[in-house]
Point group: C2
Chain length 412, copies 2
């Protein structure tokens, strides 16, 4: 019998208790012994809950209980989660968390404390909800040099973009619908402005390439400015707009960024619809592998947390090797050197002159057309260039005005 | 330093040596120590190979070498692989294999020997080539009760079906092309008649549901009889034909079968094209998860083998829990009880009479039309019924003749 505690009895925390209860027999079989939820920390009261006798409002009851060997943190945020998780690891308890903000901000430090104390710190649920991605990345792909990861990491924005693409719904209406369905918060900023995808990109990059990448190092662009004209322009280019978190190794450094990106319709990533997540991992031996599933939700996320708990029960004495090194200020490459093509919409009174100027600036651009365009619109794809060069060239244009720019994915 | 041996220096075996060499540094880091290929068994000579000094033609040189702690079996087949793997496990060596025939036929016995001797027996590469699927199924999805698995498990037939679907190529031409490109053997039977998908279905079912399923228990139908008319009929039904290996738990028994199946175009599985594999896992907590990637090929498969080797190096003293129980004759349910809808093509001189008879037999069938059909064709989807009922009803029809029948998937 292994005793665990749960910090935070919100959606995920209560889901963890539910999964441990509903699947108790098969979980005990897989873990090698039964798992008991011994304590739950929450400031709220749940007197109707069958687990109510286990509740405490005092963290000391958990961190000082020598019988508790594993602590599940599902509080979210940093304020309490960070000191609590740190204290648990310093007091001989292995930790499982679903808290992406915590791992993205403090992962290297917490992994180091776990390593020193021969404990496990696992966080499968922090990326891709219930989709197994971090463990396959760490273990199954261990024989590969991973070169690149690109993923749809935020279900809320993917739901909104799907509505915009397939139902011609405006950004505002798609957001209102996402809020109505409970996919988006009343303050939707963490989703639509990309912070959530940014944190997950940090975790993927850190694990895949072995050094911590911090959110501040990841250039992050959300989808708030995406219009139905952008969606239509992407379609004219044979693609769909997806919010992509991306990281690529270059020598001993990495690129890492989040941006709405035109993904070719032929890509499996383009078919990831609604609230689903899809993550493409490219390895030197394995080629492309895609992981797909629900990126959020009570039970999918809880099941990923519980899988980590089972793994820690199986490794109470033998530490798992999941680990990455401390980050560094110059580890993430400047985004302006990243080479990409762009889908650019411009307006020009004299389109012939504007095209001539574009071709003069870029060598040659590929011109596209779409039926919904205003008469003065020019729609082009630029050649693959370092971002700074494209920005500079576009900024210097005299005969046309840039309306919108979107990176075009080079994966399919 | 851990010493390993490789049995069989064909495509996969030499790929294993190549991956271990090319990615040696990162592999040593992940495994915690360097891995050396100490011996290679093959009856052929490879005098030009840098590893030639390590070759032997005598298995005793490997099984009796106390310094070798892990043996990689990449010979294929049962004749030598089975006694060799068994002998290795009985002599204190952990084993990694890519041999699906071996695992499907002898998995329970070999897992039991490994368990008794506190050794590891891993075979990630036996299903889905380089796609991480068995370990996620065993570990990441441990908190789920898996209810069903459906997958495109054979890349060769998926390549052929893709050519038939997208380029209107006949079965014979698609097969010739697959052979020309090296995807299909000169004797393509293991691929096109479904034996390869059957073995992988056995392994997935055994691992997901905990008891061994043998190939003889899996009703297996290949794609040899699939025509372009079937492809067109599937399209009229809003789907594409995929060769699907499927297993589903029902109480404490399972269904397991392989069959060409009409998969709705909206399904992610329908988008798995060419030689790629895609595997849908349905869990009670996680919902649907899909794993996608190259199901075969030298380096993808070798990378999966090496990932297992790394895992065994990390667990030289602590056994992994991967395990399933012995099978039983009555464990797999009779296929004739499986409930499914069918896409049925029939010919009838008097279509009105034939339709009336069909509706009388089935309650109601859904009629479809397609432009390529001959004038006397009837194309219908039957209601969901146990297979035996549909077969009986179709066999009793007087006013029409059944030309072809295809199961219609109930997943999307």
């Amino acid at each position: 019998m292994v005793k665990i505690a749960i910090l935070g009895y919100g959606t995920v925390g209560s889901g963890v208790a539910e999964v441990l209860t509903c699947n108790a027999d098969s979980i005990a079989q897989k873990a090698g012994q039964p798992i008991e939820v011994a304590r739950i920390l929450d400031i709220r009261d749940f007197p109707q809950d069958p687990l109510w006798p286990k509740f405490t409002k005092d963290f000391e009851d958990i961190v000082n209980d020598p019988e508790i060997s594993i602590v599940v943190e599902t509080m979210g945020g940093l304020k309490f989660a960070y000191p609590f998780v740190k204290a648990c690891l310093e007091n001989g308890k292995s930790v499982v968390t679903s808290n992406k903000e915590l791992v993205a901000a403090k992962g290297d430090e917490l992994l180091e404390i776990a390593r020193k104390n021969n404990l496990n710190f696992l966080f499968e649920a922090s990326v891709g909800g219930g989709i197994p991605i971090l463990r396959p990345l760490d273990q199954c792909l261990a024989a590969n040099e991973v070169t690149e990861i690109a993923g749809i990491l935020n279900g809320t924005t993917n739901f909104m973009l799907t509505k915009m693409i397939e139902e011609d719904m405006s950004f505002d209406d798609a957001l209102a619908l996402a809020q109505e369905l409970g996919y988006a918060e009343r303050d939707p900023s963490a989703d639509v402005d990309g912070a959530d995808a940014c944190r997950k990109t940090c975790i993927l990059a850190s694990l895949a390439f072995g050094r911590h990448v911090f959110p501040e190092q990841v250039v992050t662009e959300g989808i708030r400015h995406i219009t139905l004209d952008d969606v239509d322009a992407a379609s004219a280019a044979g693609g769909v707009i997806k919010l992509i978190g991306r990281t690529r190794r270059e020598g001993d450094k990495v690129y890492a960024f989040v941006a709405p990106t035109v993904v070719p319709k032929t890509s499996l990533i383009a078919d990831v619809r609604d609230v689903f997540n899809g993550i493409l991992v490219r390895g030197n031996a394995i080629g492309d592998v895609v992981f797909y599933g629900r990126g959020a939700g009570k039970l999918p996320t809880a099941s990923a947390v519980v899988a980590d708990v089972i793994d820690e029960v199986k490794h109470l004495s033998a530490r798992k090797f999941l680990y990455w090194e401390k980050g560094a200020e110059d580890y993430v490459l400047a985004q302006h050197d990243f080479e990409t093509a762009w889908l650019v919409r411009l307006t020009a009174a004299d389109k012939t002159a504007a095209k001539a100027e574009l071709n003069a600036a870029f060598g040659e651009v590929k011109e596209l057309s779409r039926s919904r365009a205003a008469a003065d619109e020019l729609l082009v794809i630029t050649p693959v260039l370092p971002e700074i060069q494209t920005t500079t060239k576009l900024g210097a244009l005299q005969s046309s005005t840039v309306v919108s720019t979107l990176r075009v994915a080079d994966f399919d």
